[in-house]
């Protein structure tokens, strides 16, 4: 089963169990990349108006009503309008009033000639707020695990999705090598290019560990991560699909504090994305990852 099919099945079961899913243009062509079941408003599939600023609040109200809403935002960049009540109400409700407000925010990233707002991941804006957890699953099992966590806990969760994950029907294991030169810590779709980079670098005699980062917040450096890092001669690099002045630097900071290794970051370039292909701002490419690794190990 692909990630898209997994999400669709999870959503269908949730709706048929009395839950709700809401968002804009859900029933439009494609049903959000095939991730939304072809159900109706009577089934709990709520089409919102195009008011991005109110949708998050309506989702919060549904959470207070006990509906455990799946709030679907088709482009992560739209979160700049949608985030306000998720992070200021749902995320703070337990601390403020002891009232749980579990919202499952599905936030979909993509890139490639879609301009300065809709491009790429924007999970960094959520990771800075207390009371919300942030996850970036890329495989079917990771998505199921994320959903099961949500249903067994009472916290709002921001799920940083990527459209390139939708056709994935396999898992992405970590790669640990003896005497690695460096450890890569990729996030979201950066994991796919990082996997390719590991293979290419291997051909040039550069050995890389690859430790996938799925839970962005709370980020707890595991013993497994730290062993991979400390066993690497040249430390590590966090590869993000958001700007570097976000969660990637936070994760790098936490990894460095917990180890004796330097951890660098590689993410979107510090400029707006244009529509023309040569002006786009894409996640680190295979070539950029290879270049960064070579720069860090000075080879």
């Amino acid at each position: 089963m692909t990630v898209a099919e997994t999400i669709r099945e999870i959503t269908k079961k949730h709706l048929l169990s009395g839950g709700v899913a809401l968002g804009q243009c859900l029933t439009a062509v494609g049903w959000v990349g095939g991730t939304v079941p072809e159900l109706t408003e009577q089934d709990g599939l709520m089409e919102l108006s195009m008011d991005d600023t109110a949708g998050g609040g309506i989702a919060v109200g549904l959470a207070l009503a006990g509906k455990r809403p799946i709030y679907i935002v088709r482009y992560q960049g739209f979160q700049w309008f949608n985030a306000a009540m998720i992070v200021n109400y749902a995320a703070k409700s337990k601390d403020m009033w002891g009232i749980h407000c579990p919202v499952f925010v599905r936030s979909v990233a993509m890139e490639g000639s879609i301009g300065p707002v809709a491009s790429s991941s924007h999970h960094g804006m959520f990771t800075r707020m207390p009371g919300i957890e942030v996850v970036a699953p890329m495989t079917p099992a990771e998505y199921v695990s994320t959903w099961e966590y949500f249903m067994s806990h009472d916290v709002p969760i921001y799920v940083s999705e990527h459209r390139k994950s939708f056709p994935i029907d396999y898992e992405l294991p970590h790669i640990i090598k003896p005497k690695a030169d460096i450890t890569l810590f990729p996030i979201s779709v950066g994991r796919l290019n990082a996997l390719e980079a590991v293979k290419e670098l291997e051909k040039e005699g550069i050995t890389c560990n690859l430790v996938h980062i799925i839970k962005l917040k709370p980020f707890v450096p595991s013993n497994f991560m730290l062993k991979a890092l400390t066993d690497s001669t040249h430390g590590g690099v966090v590869i993000d699909t958001d700007f570097e002045n976000g969660v990637s630097k936070c994760i790098a900071h936490d990894l460095m504090l917990a180890s004796d290794r330097k951890v660098h970051t590689l993410g979107l370039k510090e400029r707006a994305a244009g529509f023309a292909p040569h002006l786009d701002n894409l996640p680190p490419s295979l070539e950029e990852i290879i270049e960064k690794v070579k720069e860090l190990i000075k080879k």
Binding site: S49, A54, G57, G61, L62, L64, K67, Y89, W97
Partner: protein, 289 residues
Amino acid sequence: MISGSLTTEEILEIFRKICLIRYFELNLKRVYDAGLMPRIPIYLSVGQETIAASLSMIYKGASLFGQHRGHGIYLAFGGNPAQLIDELLGLPTGCAGGMGGSASIQCPEIKMFGHDGLMGTQVPIGVGYAIGTGQTTITFMGDASAEEGYVLGAIGYAATKKAPILFVVCDNGLSILTKKDVRRNWNMADHAGFGMITMDMTDDPWEIIRIGKLFKDQLPALINIRTNRELWHAGTGRDGEPNEFNRFNVTKNDIAIAGLKIEADIIEKEIEASIEALWNQRLQLAGRL
């Protein structure tokens, strides 16, 4: 003028609630001005007590989403006054454990939800709650927060989905001190109803009762209630008498005309004394008096 459909007990119950809100807040002003409580921002509704008091008579059991000026809602709908005092004193026994202060109070017992501090967020959240539960919900807002884009968007969505919610705009014509006609050339009842039943009215409690009853079975609906708050937007300051009318005195006069002056005077004196005593008791328990 008091409607003949109200019983004596109902008239006096409304007045009792008005007095409860008024004397609770006048004591809060006394305590705040005397420096007997933490210097947190406080938001008083003295002068506009009739809105929550009247609606609480009609919408018993409704779920409530207020904004930062929520003491009147809390008290009118049955929140525990002692827990509200404790909240204002920052105590763990407060209705929000000290987290809410004046602006973010809650009361699960009366289904009153807290407010996060962003103007008007209670409106979309209340709409989502009304849709999710199917239960009658009231969301209160000021005439300033009514201008937030997400407030208007949420009202439109509630109208589209026929959510069981009453939108109440407490309209004192001011955003802090910026007058409404400087900010907009439209009004909520005429231009933000989105096809719902709406009414633009004053805070005459007897008229609020009449419209509240009329709208109760036709939700979603919106009432814009023009009111005169006596004290500042935040804090206890006062710029003089209310601009247009003093609703408390007008209401007392209505009750006197209805032949209930003696009963009303007794209620007012009793509540004035009991609330002052309650404040003093809580202050003593908190070691502040």
